[in-house]
Amino acid sequence: MDALYGYMLYGISLATMGGIYAVLTLGLNVQWGFAGLFNAGIAGFFGIGAYTTAILTTSATHRHIGGFEMPYIVGFLAAMLICGVIAYLVGKVCLRLRSDYLAIATIGIAEIFRLILKNETWATNGPRGVSEIPKPFEHWPEPWNQFGFLLLVLVVVAIVYVLVEVARKSPWGRVMTAIRENEPSAKAAGKNVENFRMEGFVIGCMIMALAGALMAHYLKFVDPNATDPLLATFLVWVMLIVGGSANNKGAILGAFLMWVVWSATEIVTSRLPDELAIRAAYIRIFLIGLMLQIFLQKFPQGILPEKRPDVAKSNGNAETKMAD
């Protein structure tokens, strides 16, 4: 019975983390899947979101600035707002150039944020991070507190999914696809390419900040490792490419699937003797990178390929009128 209970708790934590990664992947999907923008600094936006809510919601301590004790919702919204502003500034500089420049600048933002975390210890407690972050439902009895948080994450995933799905099917989403597929013709059709790209980039970063905020409250702790480009950036890319770029269902599927694969392989490697376990961890990264390359070359569409919204149906009226 105890074992079963343990498995259940493990399952909940797996689903919670998978859900947080699903939010991140949906954010990346808006940028990469919809708009074709390369964000190499997901970890940075994720970390900024996590730290923002951490500073705003914790109670007073001498270790870092804070003591605001704001409600969670304020933390979430502030995280999204700050990331939105930073994304806007980065976008303003880079979006008129090709995607490569954005990639370089975003990886730069992530590194700069890491430098700030490291140097401004008075504000962020440096490498020791911010702890004792309040967690929603934590006063509920075990395991209901875990369930409660999982539910919160799933609700957030559902809301974000519905919103980005509506966006994808809307005229806005179709313009995004047009820009991604054929920029000159979108321009010729009178679309302001830079503005659309900016919207996609900012919205994507705000969603990533939300995921970061969720993670901070879930773990009750955040340190500069949260901005490690490996976990937060690389995994999310693999999740989206494997799941299916430009397909929101694919993004969610990819996130849960790859998180399970990632965690399951960790269970295997952690049973090896110490020396081997450390080395095996690198093999895991290598293999997951190889998986990315195989998908890029052989199945660029991912598991769930992109489905274009039915143009005939949504434009039905206009077209029948034309036919008449």
Binding site: G36, V93, D100, Y101, F234, Y282, I283, F286
Partner: protein
């Protein structure tokens, strides 16, 4: 003044020439293969570990084994191109950026797997700086690095100016379409780009390793300054990359000189941010860089 030269200007020049050599590969790949190669820093790290292993095996000086390490790094770069970039050459270019991003982590994990993550050194022992003209202090290893970097820069200059393949590379970087029309073999130029880029990356890495130490994140740490140098000099301009690298290196070191009062102008902890700030500035005001490079 002596302090400024000894502790800020010379280290800046040293760091700058390391950035410069690394940035040449970045700028040429950017313009000839048309993508920002995120795995370039990792070629550098791998080159350093090749050199470290060769030093362990032979016991020779790192600069002596460096040519062999360069060849090994070139072989690595060429096989990566064959396996991972070539199949994507007809896909949208941004796919290549994604692939290079993946390769960055794959290569690093391979390095960590085989060599571990502990700090290593290619040149053990401390060397006493030599006093020049009473107040200039230059350590012999710094002189060696500078001299070797200069030799490599001249070699690049010779290659680009006087050899057929070098001229083809410059033609490709000016206008790929025109270059193809005049019958330049694109694949040959691509191979040459990898050879030059990887060899210089390895050399830059070994210089850095001689100056500091060997660690698995060293290439990644150099990635941003190298991109900044390439963009500052103008994408596709090898001489621009040299100048850009020197400027970035000098700016990083000099930024912490106490110009006003006794406090450093910029907290040395933010040195790495200088390259980023310069890059953002150039992207805002002059995306084509100092030497009128390509803007995509």
């Amino acid at each position: 003044m002596a302090d400024f030269i000894n502790f800020y200007f010379i280290p800046g020049l040293l760091l700058g020439s390391i950035y410069a050599l690394g940035a040449i590969g970045i700028t040429m790949t950017f313009v000839i293969l048309r993508f920002a190669n995120f795995a370039h820093g990792e070629s550098m790290t791998l080159g350093v570990y090749f050199a470290w292993s060769l030093v362990q095996i032979t016991g020779w000086h790192p600069l002596v084994v460096m040519p062999i390490a360069m060849i090994l790094t070139v072989l690595y770069a060429l096989s990566i191109d064959r396996l991972f970039y070539k199949p994507l050459r007809n896909a949208p270019v941004v796919m290549l950026v994604v692939a290079s991003f993946g390769l960055m982590l794959m290569t690093r994990s391979v390095i960590q797997f085989f060599w571990g993550v502990q700090l290593k050194s290619v040149l053990p022992g401390i060397q006493k700086p030599i006093l020049v003209m009473d107040y200039l202090r230059i350590s012999p290893k710094h002189m060696m690095i500078m001299a070797s970097a200069l030799v490599l820069m001249f070699a690049v200059h010779y290659l680009l100016t006087y050899t057929k393949i070098g001229k083809a590379m410059r033609a490709m970087s000016d206008s790929p379409e025109l270059a193809k029309l005049t019958g330049i073999d694109t694949e040959k130029v691509v191979v040459a780009t990898w050879v030059v880029g990887a060899a210089l990356a390895c050399a830059a890495g070994v210089f850095l390793a001689i100056d500091t130490h060997v660690e698995t994140r060293m290439g990644f740490k150099l990635l941003l300054p190298m991109f900044a140098a390439a963009i500052l000099g103008g994408v596709g301009r090898p001489y621009g990359a040299l100048v850009g690298g020197l400027i970035i290196g000098l700016a990083e070191e000099i930024s912490s000189y106490p110009f006003i009062g006794t406090e450093p102008l910029l907290n040395p902890g933010y040195k790495a941010g200088v390259a980023f700030a310069i890059m953002i500035g150039i992207l805002i005001w002059r995306p084509s860089g100092l030497f009128k490079g390509k803007v995509f």
